[in-house]
């Protein structure tokens, strides 16, 4: 019977991690529903981006106040994982504060002391985040797309962190031996007196409960990630590594179109030629994107990485002037639709069964797409290099090339380019007139 806690711990750990791994598989499967895109080039540059932007938080601090608070929570998160490692070893082998013996009192005191200070700082930062989200007047936290789950999700994460930090400090405060040793308890020593009147047994029960709820809480939080915008703590790394390295103004030249255009412009091409003997029957490629499976997998990864901070939307000129477009909503819609497609595949034994819905119209309206000035402000702002503009452009391509559904004025502009070589209705023969006037 004495091994019962260890066995329960091992089962909880296996279940927690197992469920998480299962969801990661699903995540990876969903991302792979996207079209292929090659991001294997320029590896040193990619690595540098990842280190600078994801690890070094260089784009976060462009807004210094939230950037600084975010770094506190981020550093706290990373360093406290060492403590989690100790908890796991203790839990599995029935030891208690195994690192104290292994690392020696001095270093252990330094480590745990640092964790305690970080835990307190994280708690404060998270409370400020909560106030910013719920009380202060920061527009990006109160936009249309931030109602319901997105709002609750943001708060849930903060509550999780508050509770986990509190449990960690209470666990230390009620560890009588740890308090008596007086090592590494710079914060918890002030919490310990709260339990002065309690019996030794009660204090021990509180310590054990805090310890258990803390580690179970961490396992639950781990599994919450997949359902939450908090997934960015993992995906920010691949996302910055795989981000587009070309100049922001350079849009890809669709290869499928190049082939068609070359054929059209080649005077020797026979438009009625039968496909070569043995050539594979290929379904003509769809131009542009109307659903998530038309997007490439980096765009889909982008949508899972988005943490809905809204920095993109708050810098979008269309959004700032009251238009429908919100780059954040584009990313959230893409993720929501991708999740829906994923659930459809799961429910239908591994194949997607047409549900009569798509990203375009059911999630994103053409009005949103046509409001974009392609100015790249959203791309520049994103702290983890998400590119909402590329999705907007791919969907515009679908609207124009598959549906001929551009606004009338743009159709006129395109006709003019086609006929006169200029977006306006002028004669190409008049192109040099400007040189003769003065």
């Amino acid at each position: 019977m004495q091994y019962l806690p260890n066995i329960i711990f091992a089962i909880a750990l296996l279940l927690g991690i197992g469920f998480f791994v299962m969801n990661i598989h699903k995540l990876s499967r969903n991302i792979k529903l996207g079209k292929d895109v090659d991001r294997t080039d320029r590896k040193p540059e990619r690595l540098k981006n990842m280190i600078k932007i994801a690890l070094g938080q260089s784009k976060m601090v462009k807004r210094p106040f939230s950037g600084f608070l975010h770094i506190v929570v981020y550093v706290g998160f990373i360093i406290i994982n060492i403590e989690v490692l100790e908890i796991i070893i203790d839990g599995l082998f029935g030891t208690h504060r195994i690192f104290q013996g292994v690392l020696g009192n001095g270093f252990y005191a330094f480590l745990i002391g640092t964790f305690e200070i970080l835990a307190a700082l994280v708690f404060v930062a998270v409370v400020i985040f909560w106030l910013r989200r719920n009380v202060s007047n920061i527009k990006r936290f109160f936009s249309k797309e931030m109602k319901g789950w997105p709002k609750n999700d943001g708060n849930n994460i903060l509550y999780f962190e508050m509770v986990l930090m509190t449990l960690f400090l209470v666990m230390n405060a009620t560890d009588t031996a740890f308090q008596q040793a007086g090592i590494g308890n710079p914060i918890s020593q002030f919490i310990a007196p709260l339990f002065d009147g309690f019996s030794a047994e009660t204090i021990h029960t509180i310590e054990r409960s805090a310890w258990w709820i803390h580690i179970l809480g961490i396992l639950v939080f781990l599994n919450y990630l997949y359902y939450s915008k908090h997934l960015h703590i993992l995906l920010a790394f691949p996302n910055t590594y795989l981000a587009n390295l070309n100049p922001k103004g350079q849009f890809n030249n669709l290869e499928s179109v190049t082939n068609e255009v070359k054929l059209m412009m080649d005077p020797d091409a026979d438009p009625y030629a039968a496909p070569a003997e043995g050539a594979e029957e290929t379904v003509p490629e769809k131009f542009g994107a109307s659903d998530v499976t038309d997007l490439n997998w980096v765009q889909l990864l982008n949508s899972y990485t988005c943490t809905e901070c809204g920095r993109c939307t708050s810098s979008c000129p269309a959004n700032l002037t009251g238009k429908e477009l919100s780059p954040r909503k584009i990313m959230m819609d893409t993720r929501d639709r991708l999740e829906e497609v994923g659930r459809n595949i799961d429910a239908n034994g591994g194949t997607f069964v047409d549900d009569g819905k798509q990203l375009l119209n059911d999630y994103i309206k053409p009005e949103e797409l046509w409001a974009c000035t392609s100015c790249n402000a959203c791309v520049e702002e994103c702290p983890v290099n998400i590119d909402p503009l590329s999705i907007i452009m791919d969907m515009r391509r679908y609207l124009v090339m598959e549906e001929s559904a551009a606004p009338q004025e743009l159709n006129m502009m395109m006709t003019n380019i086609e006929n006169n070589g200029a977006p306006w209705q002028y004669n190409q023969q008049d192109r040099l007139n400007w040189a003769k006037e003065d």
Binding site: P247, K248, G249, Q250, N253, L254, V257, T258, E260, V261, K262, M265, F287, G288, S315, P317, L320, T321, G322, K323, E324, L325, E367, A371, T373, S374, C375, A377, V379, E380, E381, M393, R396, R397, Y398, V400, M401, A406, P407, L410, M412, M413, M414, I417, E418, G421, A422, P423, W424, Y426, Q428, Q429, D430, R431, L432, N433, W434, A435, K436, D438
Partner: protein, 259 residues
Amino acid sequence: MTVPTMAEMMAQGKQPEVLFWVGAAGSYDDRAKKISRAFVKILHQANVDFAVLGTEESSTGDAAKRSGNEFLFQMQAMMNIEVLNGYEVKKIVTCDPHSFNTLKNEYPSLGGKYEVFHHTQFIQNLISEGRLKIDDTTLKGKRVTFHDPCYLGRANEVYESPRNLIKRLGVNLTEMKRNKSTALCCGAGGAQMFKEPEKGDKDINVLRTEDALETKPQIIATGCPYCNTMMTDGIKFKEKEAEVLVKDIAELIAEANNL
């Protein structure tokens, strides 16, 4: 004004140093034509051997591409590339950041590889090579603010050459609160120039003009014909046209040098 064409050059067996890509706005738009002429005056003053395509030039396809018509864009691109490669063009300069971006970034994979300059970069090179001087007395002390074009700034990270030129004018350059990588769009990019804006509570060019007016400028300097139009319209909307001028950097240089 003498503006030689590539065809004339070829007939004389000459290959100019640089091709001036005028762009549709620079060719047809009354306001932008002034920018083209100002730039040509600068080229003449610096004795630059240049030529234009003239009637052989066609839309780069930028507006088509950004409105989603990849077909039309690539057809334009391939026709232009055929003409440019036919003349063995190596170097291109343009006053239009949209043409600049498209020629520089999107033509290469379709077979058009050129060294492409925005006119502010090109003029800066002329100065550093000692071929051009800017008179810093004519506009001395004027309050100037510069509006970064998205397709020059964020899209290609060219922030310094326009500022460098403005400072050489001897003027007082003040920055808007949103500048360089955080600059606000004028509202014309992504083919918005050619359509009414979607419904909202304000036009983007008005918001950007408000950014500019906060710096109390006498001149709003631009580096893009479309930005120029949008800011000019914004100034008219705010009824400030008596106090604030909107000028392209090329026009300011031509004016400073009494060209």
